[in-house]
Symmetry: C2
């Protein structure tokens, strides 16, 4: 049993021009140090079908509460992203600032405020530097021939925080292109969506169909990702489809959307804060998909499994522990469970000294695949994560100071 994981090849990543009819501008409003880009605006030159999924956090910020109904209307066509400040837990002033930011972006892009989404990422509990943001937008006009030249990689780079690489993914369906971009990489256990993922396509699709395809794709990809079990207050995953390339078969669009989301999910996991390895966990023969995902999440989130993978310590018993933590799953019985690392069985056929050496070798690879059979049914699920390193601790012990 293996997982076929298709990540973008370098050739794909060189061709991250936006789909037909989209344009983007990026720049620095001074929220991040050293002049790094920290603002991105993306606009479609025609109406769009839109769908979005957002964090379920009780501390969701005004970016989320403003964007959620607009994405749900099915007709959003532009988004602005600010990196370096989450604008969360900032009270009524924060709501006011988010509304003003939307108005600035909508005017600069030439769209109605109701068509404008906003997303924000960075430190919680600080106000936006509104003067700087006003200054940046004051020079941006819809028709400026010298601006609006960013591609998806440029946008992905502008919205990075602790990300080490810009994350994009591209697929084609007939004449249409599907271009995705995302950022992570800490506070990542998406509950309805991950920390800022955007997919643009020039395929023609109605809002209800797009919404259905999007929910399914997000559920099997971003919602199966965890870097550190901490759910962001700002998670946002939005798709915009402007139809510039005409209609495409729905089934093919569904596959391409899922592939783009999975590709971004794998890139997010690999670039998890401090990560040195990708971990994938597939649970088979579960009672239902919920049980499969619960067990797979328990394994991919266990700090003891993550540190064992980090140290290439063939301590497979920690996977048994993490399965056992699902204490309310009374139909999980150790005598029916099988644990494998790649193709090597670790339980119940416990490896001897040679097997443990082979297991250590498998765990030293840059992708560790853990495969579990529960023997409780025929459902399965795969989760995506990374190892836990001293790098994670260092990054997060000193984040704001």
């Amino acid at each position: 049993v293996t997982n076929v994981l298709v990540e973008s090849n370098p050739e794909d990543r060189q061709t991250t021009a936006l789909p037909l009819g989209f344009r983007a501008e990026v720049g620095s409003a001074g929220l991040r140090s050293g002049g790094a880009h920290d603002v991105a605006v993306v606009v479609s030159d025609r109406p769009c079908a839109s769908a979005g999924m957002f964090t379920r956090s009780r501390f969701a910020g005004p970016s989320v509460t403003l964007s959620r109904p607009r994405a749900a209307s099915g007709t959003a066509r532009a988004f602005v992203v600010v990196a370096g400040n989450a604008n969360v837990a900032t009270g009524p002033q924060g709501e006011h600032d988010a509304s003003e930011l939307c108005a600035l972006a909508a005017a600069s892009g030439g769209v109605a405020v109701a068509e404008q989404l906003v997303a924000s990422t960075g430190v919680i509990g600080r106000r936006y530097p509104m003067d700087r943001l006003r200054g940046w937008f004051s020079g941006l006009r819809p028709g400026d021939p010298d601006r609006w030249r960013a591609d998806a990689t440029g946008v992905a780079r502008a919205i990075m925080t602790t990300d080490l690489v810009a994350k994009t993914a591209v697929r084609t369906v007939g004449p249409a292109r599907i271009v995705g971009l995302a950022k992570g990489v800490g506070m990542i256990e998406p509950d309805m969506a991950t920390m800022l993922a955007f997919v643009l396509t020039d395929a023609a699709v109605t809002p209800p169909v797009l919404d259905r395809l999007w929910r399914r794709a997000v559920d099997e990809t971003f919602n199966c990702l965890s870097v550190d079990t901490d759910t962001s207050t700002s998670d946002t995953a939005v798709v915009l489809a402007n139809g510039a390339a005409g209609p495409v078969p729905e089934a093919e669009l569904a596959v391409a959307l899922r592939e783009v989301c999975l590709d971004l999910t794998l890139q997010l996991a690999r670039d998890g804060e401090g990560a040195t390895k990708l971990i994938t966990v597939t649970v088979h023969t579960a009672r239902d998909r919920g049980q499969a995902r619960r067990v797979a999440k328990s394994i991919v989130n266990s700090p003891l499994v993550k540190t064992a993978v980090h140290g290439a310590d063939p301590n497979w018993g920690r996977v048994a522990m993490a399965i056992g933590k699902c204490a309310d799953d009374h139909d999980i019985h150790p005598e029916h469970v099988v644990i494998r690392f790649g193709h090597l069985e670790a339980y119940p056929d416990i490896p001897g000294p040679e097997g443990l050496a082979e297991l250590a070798g498998i765990m030293a690879r840059d992708h560790v695949d853990i495969d579990v059979e529960l023997g409780a049914g025929d459902a399965e699920a795969t989760t995506y994560g990374c190892d836990l390193s001293d790098g994670y601790v260092r990054i997060n012990a000193d984040y704001t100071t």
Copy 2:
């Protein structure tokens, strides 16, 4: 609002003689390197009332499955602990080995097998070295005047794994003494009990009363502890009461039991793997105790809160994030929430530069107390944990190799 946390003072710890009528022997059977003690046996010379709580893990080992019904019978009077090997995920052979170990211990202690409990801690998935254990028990007889001289500290030391300090706690109620001992300190998010805690008393109490007092004490102490969110396969918390000191008022016994358990819980949190600081989180004005504990656990378990405490980074927004993660608690509204560190309010009255400097100072202390009001009711709960350091990663990346 403050928590009064009474940890054992050094004087208490010097008087860890066992209660009347109990005796203990410790030694090395060669499971741990360097001749460290790794076996402990404790026996009452007369019948006991007993109560126990055990892990709910689906991968619970034979130590747990053997001991659970015996403790529930209310008449257990002896236990044996092996450190360095958990005897978990070892199949039918592991069950056979656990039974033989119980028989060896019962014979050496002079009790019936049905009165004998067993607990085990260490690596998962390896068989006991039965020859060595047989050898160690072959020299131990119930009446040997040169043996059976260990006190609670000696037992606590013999059952350590990654613990840095032996953990004991003592209280008195009238003529009776309550002596507790425990070990941690990784794979600690007890679900029904923590990794190996034992309390002995010479108070006279019936099994049903003891069971009731014990469940309440464990629920408010060990079950509110988390070092790393990973629930052990071997969690065991047992109390034995042999009545040698006669009856005591039930209410006083309840308080003393809870204090002993809380004392051990705080010691376990402080000695969490890699820990440099104790974190306590109290959630007030919750809808019910379940909500209070869920939110307090979400905060004390958040790796981003734990790393911020480690680095004394005054990033209070992560506490807001961790509250927000309780996404199904629809009666949590940010506008009703108050977050404090000690007496310093961080939200909604957000600190300025001076306040942040003060907050950094509070977070640099060796005990960081986080206090949250939800404004949803009048229930409260306190949880106990520790910071997340590079030390945790190093200990667990290299555990078995």
